[in-house]
Symmetry: C2
Subunit: 183 residues, 2 copies
């Protein structure tokens, strides 16, 4: 699947692995991520399979860059994937929920400390989705007017992140209150 986020970004413009990593951090952070090492490996696989080509741009005083460009074959593959319906829901893995599920033997204060730490982290994330990420989308849409339509979908995915974090915070509030009063 990493394959498709790479093709997706390369379809906007030729990019280096490093730049794709930065784009991922800025825009898809709340629903997709990848390590740089894996990005480099997968870009190489794209080239091997004829979905992208690469050229080296020498730089002085910086390491040379390897810039990847999507091929027509790569565009076909991407479009094919985009057209396929998503037939199953993704199965999540959330370590904190797992921990909470089995935490009946913990002391009340330890339980509350864990919940409050989560609250702090989710609040921070909620703010970054509402502020930095929203701003990022607005800016990119202005810089690249041909991506205006795309930016409306980016905003839709961002909006889900916002709603999900809000729901999580609401649940944490409820749960903390419940534990404080009735544990």
């Amino acid at each position: 699947m990493l394959k498709y986020i790479l093709l997706g970004f390369l379809n906007y413009r030729p990019m280096t692995g490093y730049a794709i990593k930065e784009a991922i951090n800025r825009s898809t952070g709340h629903f997709w991520h990848a390590e740089l090492s894996q990005i480099y490996v997968t870009l190489k696989a794209l080239e091997r399979d004829g979905l992208a080509t690469s050229t080296i741009e020498p730089q002085s005083q910086r390491p040379d860059r390897r810039v990847y460009t999507i091929t027509p074959h790569g565009q076909t593959d991407l479009h094919q994937w985009l057209s396929e319906p998503q037939l199953e829901l993704e199965k999540r893995k959330e370590p904190f929920l797992l921990k909470l599920f089995f935490s009946a033997t913990l002391e009340k204060n330890a339980l509350l400390a864990h919940l409050r730490l989560q609250h702090k982290q989710h609040e921070q994330f909620y703010r970054s989705v509402r502020n930095q990420m929203a701003e990022e989308i607005r800016q990119t849409a202005q810089e690249y007017p041909h991506l205006a339509k795309d930016s409306r979908l980016w905003e839709a995915t961002r909006r889900l992140g916002e709603l999900q974090q809000a729901a999580y915070l609401q649940w944490l509030d409820e749960t903390i209150e419940y534990i404080e009063k009735e544990w």
Copy 2:
């Protein structure tokens, strides 16, 4: 991490791999899952590491069962893990969001079809979290009165699943309406 869901269930009572898989399906489906094959492999590793022991229960007309029991060492390890704070937010991977993010080139109708299919799937999941899963927790709490405290945390995790699915459905409604009107 699979290790800990296994220890968590074995801490309630001795169980077979098959029974753990059923317990997972019934109770932690919305935040944790595992394949049977992986469960068997990990149970074996628990035994190798002295966190559980196993005995074979011969059965007539059914395959023999291998029943695993948690050891004191296993209980210590579980409790240790439960006590540790969760210092980082889990990074999600949601293929549907990824697809949507890059779907500006899709036709309006294809986009709507994808969103409506998601709606159908999430609605079904939402109902199962509200109905079957809630009922399951109530029943288990009645059957095993010593797990009364645990069942309140199970219910808390279930409640988050419910809120998250509700948020997702709300977002899908908004997004479908937006695409219908302004795409």
